[in-house]
Symmetry: C2
Subunit: 627 residues, 2 copies
Amino acid sequence: MRGSHKVHVGPLNVAMREIDLEPSSGEPPLRVYDTSGPYTDPATRIDIMAGLHELRRDWIRSRNDVEEVAQREVRPEDNGQLGPDRSGGVQPFPNVRRTVLRARPGMNVSQMHYARRGIVTPEMEYVATRENLGRAMLNEYVRDGQDWGASIPDYVTPEFVRDEVARGRAIIPSNINHPESEPMAVGRNFLVKINANIGNSAVASDVASEVDKMVWAIRWGADTVMDLSTGRNIHDTREWIIRNSPVPIGTVPIYQALEKVGGIAEDLTWEIFRDTLIEQAEQGVDYFTIHAGVRLPYIPMTAKRVTGIVSRGGSIMAKWCLAHHKESFLYERFDEITEIMKAYDIAYSLGDGLRPGSIADANDEAQFAELYTLGELTKRAWEQDVQVMIEGPGHVPMHKIKENMDKQLQACGEAPFYTLGPLTTDIAPGYDHITSGIGAAMIGWYGTAMLCYVTPKEHLGLPDRDDVKVGVVTYKLAAHAADLAKGHPAAKLRDDALSRARFEFRWRDQFNLSLDPDTAEQYHDQTLPAEGAKTAHFCSMCGPKFCSMKITQEVRDFAAKQNQGAESFLAANSSLASAGEGDHSAKPNGGGGLAAEEAEAGMAEMSEKFRETGSELYMGAGGREHD
Amino acid sequence: MRGSHKVHVGPLNVAMREIDLEPSSGEPPLRVYDTSGPYTDPATRIDIMAGLHELRRDWIRSRNDVEEVAQREVRPEDNGQLGPDRSGGVQPFPNVRRTVLRARPGMNVSQMHYARRGIVTPEMEYVATRENLGRAMLNEYVRDGQDWGASIPDYVTPEFVRDEVARGRAIIPSNINHPESEPMAVGRNFLVKINANIGNSAVASDVASEVDKMVWAIRWGADTVMDLSTGRNIHDTREWIIRNSPVPIGTVPIYQALEKVGGIAEDLTWEIFRDTLIEQAEQGVDYFTIHAGVRLPYIPMTAKRVTGIVSRGGSIMAKWCLAHHKESFLYERFDEITEIMKAYDIAYSLGDGLRPGSIADANDEAQFAELYTLGELTKRAWEQDVQVMIEGPGHVPMHKIKENMDKQLQACGEAPFYTLGPLTTDIAPGYDHITSGIGAAMIGWYGTAMLCYVTPKEHLGLPDRDDVKVGVVTYKLAAHAADLAKGHPAAKLRDDALSRARFEFRWRDQFNLSLDPDTAEQYHDQTLPAEGAKTAHFCSMCGPKFCSMKITQEVRDFAAKQNQGAESFLAANSSLASAGEGDHSAKPNGGGGLAAEEAEAGMAEMSEKFRETGSELYMGAGGREHD
């Protein structure tokens, strides 16, 4: 990333980034969370054909609870080839592993299982270091926020992570067959996370584009990525993605199962689905969206809806249920699914198949009936120590958003909430990253742990890489706004650093501290491209005479000069001189710390003087307007 | 606007738009609020050189309280020409009126003055019709929202408008010298409005571009426009804009005053400022931003801020105060300013010169000290029946937003609040339309009457027309999300109409009902440009097999067919057949109203049957997975 460099922190070499600031700022580099993986590490050689380094390999194996098994053979139907025609395939990932890992019989390899046995795993330690960000830089933890009853710690310890995972309030999605992933946590008491969706459809895209979208999405800040492919070559596409992904990968297995039965929902079977789970588990998928809450009795509740069932998986299951006159096999077979999950440490993302797809349908009977079933299923999964997060809406007007959070907390035992937006109005296709960014920021503030992005293409078509970027940056800013509002102790460091840079006209620092330095600089340069403009004390919005920040600087300089006895002031406050260096919390404004003190003193003295002597000047001075 | 046509409603020919829907929808055209003026009326001939038709001319003159006076001569310094050099000028508006209007001596022509005398003016009647939108179409007023104590009526009467204006809770900005404007109201109990900023700077833009930005901004939905020019040719630029603007125009007079003294804030005088007010009043400016709350004692409170004073007007006044060791002349001379306002019906926009320009500075002492002074000034203005709205922040993290609304309501007697965002984080320059769209939607929900837009160029440079459009559409969706959340009775009509169109794959209707039909269609066509795709029951996001809406339709059709005794059902419920036509409220989903009833009945019956007979099928049926 421009203007910053990768660092590795602590004994586990936790990857982060540091944004370097100009020496005139007097500030150390700002440390920020980094999802971009080895792709932005100049010290790492990238080979997409080989996949990433298996960061967690030794941690997994040293737990001595896994065995190697031959990977299930890839069948033509795994890639959507149902008849003799073998055309339309893609090059498989060249370094598919011959053997994969699975829990030894009777063992449970989920992070929750270890946590409940009091074990702090390396994954938990990694998470703790990663979540602490720049906290070590703070002298004190200012908690300025409204967290609605969350329990965000001042400083994250590995023990805190263990406890959150043990009680189910956080998950660390980390399939033992995805050792390339850099561990991360999804939970209300950690930084709000975001997910980017990629994947082809029958109508658009190809493998190279999808791998590129994944790398592009994490470059801009996606914490997890879901591969939602619904077209051809689902298996091969996924292999390329997972082997090259440093972030957890999620899927919706019912999509591939549907492809295997030629798109005929009625032909889905538990056997096909189960086999698909194993296939994807062996590849290393870290979380599965399972729409086990779309129960037969709930389907009639959707008949009156304006937009029916908008979840792909939900509509598929609804069709199956009605066609067979049976309860959902996902619901019926849930405990068997859980047995599979625990053998690989795959987390549940309990799907909101009955989420509202329009303002009219928000918070209706169908939606909450499903939510309460997801709560029931959460408890069942926890009985087997399997990690769970709960998916959420959708389209919800602002006044109905908090109810969603409150009900989810109550129904699902504080399992992490993972919402899609929500969109706060239906009337702006083309801008749904924004209509949903509003709802996402709010529900993140209220306690949602992960926000699934929405791109400008929502409702209109498959997103391209530009859309992916815009969606990711929009959701990063929404998640960060939520962290700020919750009073997360380290969140404000970045806002303050950027605002100081802005105030001091350190243009490059302002760009580099922002979520998208390239765009910020590009927009600035549209009207002021010359190199000199990067240190100019104005931009084209107002020009040199009208820049309020420039004028404010002049006001402060003026006041400081006017401050009689400035020297004695300095002498009396010599500690201020040294306090101005290197310590953020004691320096209220950038490099002008001492000047600010002088300015304030100066202005206050003048103000005093006016009150004492100048009251006549105040009360209608008459002709001397130039005073 | 594509897919819609201009209509004129009622005896005052209030301009609105109707969006035509496909006949298969069975729905009448949807009526929406329209700010675009005569520019989108094919029956009107536009001549920018002549200006718009003087819609309000007779209303103003028939009140018999105005006199014609010769317009003040334009001086070179009005256009920034301070020395003998007359280059760099622009073509003045060719049809400047020789005489302008002013209240007869002792008279008061403000809408508030009429309202307080019990008079319902044509402007108030126009507003009532305009605000009612499609309410007449509703059979009942469903109030589903949280309005935090607002008083939004089911149906807006002219008397209601009068009362709101009389009590100061709403304003109708309508200078008697801007008779071209289509009256509109800014108030908590009306639709949330948005403002777009245009205007050149010393560094960028020209007259033609600024007039174009105004027309472009109102085309996309700007309810008022502020001309914030700070460069050359301020007077001439403004004349072109006002004569051609169907929406109220606001300015910040101190900018032009500063230009007249060559940019030296210390050289500002009350005389120059007063003269500028008259100059702009005669041209027809509808509201003035006056930073009368930037008082001398408050300035030291900003010394510790991270970003100081970010308001241009505020920083200019701060500089003047300190340089002269005097209280602000805007504050001192406030009552004299009010005397001028009431002679033309110019509304105050009491400026938030001390608003926070960074998260760090939000809700600080300086900000609220000014707010309380604005409250004091509001009461003083109301003593002379002059209309007032209050400007607000800025940069405010989400958890601090409501405090702003609560304090403003309390301090300013419920005068309308007019905020700039607020931005909910500092870290995303390039995306500040979004960081602020979040705060704007929230503060609009809480009761803010007008939202001043922010474009992607905020903090980086002067916006171009593309930025203007993106800013306007973003703020339209934020304002609408606020209306929805407040439970405004007519707001949801548009969301529901669009969602029905979406569900029924009426793609053209979906585009035409959206805030930006061009972009929506363009995004759709990026992957599916063929004409046939406009009626396809899928798009490229999921393709034909995976479209959840298509599958939902299939589910409903299937359920309807399976419904045994469907014919007897119909016979027993013949009223349903006729209820399905033409009446929105009785038709829960678009053209499938009757099918939905059948579907629900069908699904419910099946569900019943399962429970009665199928319990064995539920409890682990064993081998027959294909059932």
